[in-house]
Symmetry: C2
Subunit: 168 residues, 2 copies
């Protein structure tokens, strides 16, 4: 699918994610624009994490053009709507992901890949956990280490380094 989003289609859309965004826009009296739907549409198709750069590229690959500022703008909006979260992992540039069920992030410090794992034990632990003089809204657990692919590689070539640091 590479057709540009049609506003009326989206406005009437039954997809819960689109609906949530529509309600958010309505509540704020904000406009429903093709750009916003194009961006939301692309984000919904992504599993896992992406950078602003990558997102814009994907949107343009879909045959739709949006300016960088509009991408930032909309991403900010989606964060306000609590539909998107921004993560900055050690030494990397900001990445975004849709807010779904809580999960742990495994970040490979060698190749930079990020994997999400659900951990019901941990979720249960956090649900029960109360901090004194602090009211929890949400949390993020980042686990840094080496993924099996990189571990295997380094066994063969001990000095192989893909470099996780995308910034630079």
């Amino acid at each position: 699918m590479k057709t540009n989003p049609n506003i009326d289609d989206f406005a009437a859309c039954n997809n819960p994610v689109v609906r949530k965004f529509n309600e958010f826009l309505d509540a704020r009296g904000m406009r429903k624009t093709t750009e916003r739907y194009a961006i939301l549409n692309r984000i919904m198709a992504i599993n896992g994490h992406f950078t602003i750069e990558e997102l814009q590229q994907m949107i343009e690959e879909d045959g739709f053009r949006v300016s960088r500022s509009t991408v930032y703008n909309t991403v900010e909006l989606l964060m306000d709507a609590k539909m998107l979260r921004r993560h900055v992992f050690e030494g990397m540039q900001a990445q975004y992901e849709r807010i779904t069920v809580p999960h742990t992030h495994l970040i490979c410090t060698t190749c930079g890949k990020v994997k999400e794992v659900r951990d019901t034990n941990f979720a249960a632990f956090m649900n029960a956990r109360r901090f004194t003089a602090f009211n929890t809204d949400h949390y993020s657990l980042y686990v840094y280490g080496t993924c099996s692919t990189c571990a295997r590689k380094s066994k063969r070539t001990p000095h192989a380094k893909d470099d996780a640091k995308s910034k630079k």
Copy 2:
């Protein structure tokens, strides 16, 4: 104390933190400079988190002058030495803290204050936790919410906002 660090004093210093840094520098064949000690010295006196800006300011308040690039340079060095960690909490600029015992970070999304709490249950949980196809090196748990001070304030003046976002 506001005397400029003396290199020989530091080189012979018995403080385990200084010793670790010395060993790191030796191992890399790097020089022991007054700037590096001035920075390390200031960092050791800090409890909790600080930004590059704040660190440089504190050092200058100590009566010592270092350029921003040297601060970045040394901070990078301390991270390589696994003595310092960089955190980027949601919507805030990078903050650093000495690596000590693992702890949870409570971040107030209203005022931006960061509090560390030790949580032996969580530590035990993480020590036992193994992830498939992933070798853990270290982890960070960020908990976002509202501190009691801000909760109290907002009860009085529901729209009070200090703004956690230090990046303008």
